[in-house]
Amino acid sequence: MSYALLFISIVLINNFVLAKFLGLCPFIGVSRRRPEAMGMGYAVIFVMAMASAVTWAAYFYLLAPTKANVFYRIMGEGRTPADFDFTYLQTIVFILVIATLVQLVEMFLMKMVPALYKSLGIYLPLITTNCAVLGVALLNIKDFSRLSPAESFFRTVLQGLGGGVGFLLVLFLMSGIRERLDRAEVPPALKGVPIAFICAALMALAFMGFLGLVK
């Protein structure tokens, strides 16, 4: 599959929110007004792409039992790479790396780009617990860790970026729908979250139509 097709399939067909159920909390929580939704979406693209790259490096150089493993290089005399298999620490290492990364991005933006920090700042702390970010890191390892290093790195970053773009797209559409819903006549029992979920169901149904795009 070419990279363009891979990107399309990540954004539209295997959309993180509507097909994989990742990142639902912000999807329901901050989709009430459009500017908020866009701010959150941009922040997520940024963090997901960076987190993909950084967790890939952490996996490849620290955890995986390969010849590139840093511990194998330093202490590997007379041992095989398999002695340095730390993949069971994956979950803990990834979440710490992501939390640190988000904190660093926040500090960097606050110092260097205050204007951007003002618009994204409040969403950044929330992103640590956005399961789409940890989810994309875990999926990258699951999907691509058997490929050659260069290939897997490239696909990893592409999946991070595509996942973020898909999230922004869905969040943007959803916020538009919900702004309209505020003025619509909704049965009282379904007001608020339930009707948002029903709209999400219809969107998921529509997105299933993209299945024919890549085959």
Partner: protein, 204 residues
């Protein structure tokens, strides 16, 4: 003490009332077996992390408490991951990345921060048990509706020959796909809102 346990199941149900932990709820609830497995895993992590956070609370500096909680939770999630990988490989395969994603399940971090850090060990354990049970019940309910209507089975057993892909009435396979999950949870939350409104209107 008992009310700490009860509130998680009903009045403060983490999924339906507090709207936490939606991702695993919708993604996993295709089969009842998966739902029970996921619920058990999350309950175990909730109880253990609640107990440890409440016991170690005074030694954790306030400024870095969130990263500390995350490390505690991630440790127990790794325990669950390894146990499930060893003893229930099929379930582990079906739940996929949603087992490690328990780390970022807002229910667990939320309870550590909002309850366990300010209450005693026993109360925290009960709170964890109640919240975990509430989570499991909702998961099982959604999975039950989706499995029965979507694949015509319950716990993998076919309900009736005529309600099957080959029979007279085919199950609605849209229910086991993504849209079905959204519709089911929308209707359940809607039903709760409807009941709450009806209760308020009723003269006392």
């Amino acid at each position: 003490m008992f009310k700490e346990f009860k509130k998680g199941v009903f009045a403060e149900n983490p999924v339906l009332v507090l709207l936490l932990g939606l991702c695993p709820t919708l993604a996993i609830s295709v089969k009842v077996v998966n739902a029970i497995g996921m619920g058990a895993a999350a309950t175990f992590v909730l109880i253990c992390s609640n107990v440890l956070v409440s016991a170690a609370g005074r030694f954790i500096p306030a400024k870095i408490r969130i990263p500390c909680y995350i490390v505690i939770i991630a440790t127990f999630v790794t325990v669950v991951e390894m146990v499930m990988g060893a003893y229930t490989p099929e379930l582990n395969e079906a739940l996929g990345i949603f087992i490690p994603l328990i780390v970022v399940n807002c229910i667990i971090l939320g309870r550590a921060e909002a309850f366990a850090s300010r209450n005693g060990v026993v109360a925290s354990a009960l709170d964890g048990l109640g919240m975990g049970l509430g989570f499991t019940l909702v998961l099982t309910l959604i999975a039950f509706i989706r499995e029965v209507t979507g694949s015509g089975t319950f716990l993998g057993i076919r309900l009736s020959g005529s309600f099957s892909p080959e029979g007279a009435v085919a199950p609605a396979s849209v229910m086991i796909m993504a849209p079905g999950a959204f519709v089911v949870i929308a209707l359940i939350i809607g039903a709760i809102q409807w009941r709450r409104a009806a209760k308020l209107k009723r003269p006392v």
